[in-house]
Symmetry: C2
Subunit: 123 residues, 2 copies
Amino acid sequence: MSTFCKFETALEILVGKWKPVILLRLFSNGTMRFSELQKAIPEITKKMLTQQLRELEYHDIVHREIYRQIPPKVEYSITEYGKGMATILQALNDWGVAHIEHLNELYGPNHSVEPHRSDAMDK
Amino acid sequence: MSTFCKFETALEILVGKWKPVILLRLFSNGTMRFSELQKAIPEITKKMLTQQLRELEYHDIVHREIYRQIPPKVEYSITEYGKGMATILQALNDWGVAHIEHLNELYGPNHSVEPHRSDAMDK
DNA sequence: GCCTTAGGTTTCTTTTTGTATACTACGTTT
DNA sequence: AAACGTAGTATACAAAAAGAAACCTAAGGC
């Protein structure tokens, strides 16, 4: 019924306040344990980190390796399948960078970067 | 400090429950007025439609043409700049379609399509 | 027999999103 | 003169997502 209709699916995987930054970390650092991710993203809570990682794991983007030790050790990494997202993530990133530039041209360099909510209703 | 760090920006433009379907409509139908969009997307409320369109307008993806008539007439269309998103939207779409297939292989064809929230915590 | 550690889970509160419904402006039609 | 139609806005409310903080587990060290 339509090509070009399921990109919502792709978005679902990326949405969630923390997924982009988690993916960024894992793509650039390789394998990381839970506590390393926490240190790398200090503002995130354990709850959010766990939740977002579980969602990424469900989608086979992230692998979770549990070492049965005390104290526990759990390592996260991008799966082989997940590495296939690199291209599209890079494309999104490039577009985003260019878009910030575009917004600067439109509104000047001192606009708030994301005022798309709650103002700018014309008079 | 990092390439590959601003794709959040791209996502910000796409997130919002209704943006994908609004963009889909405008890309495939060309110019549409407010009421046509409402008819095309019956579940959306006026408030949400207005809000999402305003955000897309702010980002220069959508153009808003106001005809000063009574009753009012307002037409929406994708800007020239916005047309530059088609490639990346198509890429996201293609990846999304392939990803649904991938999930089918992993979990069988009868899994709920987006259970990434609120279950599947391992026992 | 209490403390520490790592990787969580639980519960509660706040914030953000989305829905539902009503109301407006103003010329045209009935 | 009341009703209609368009493109909204305003207000109230419900639901979903995020945040904060406390609690849990089990082994080893003191």
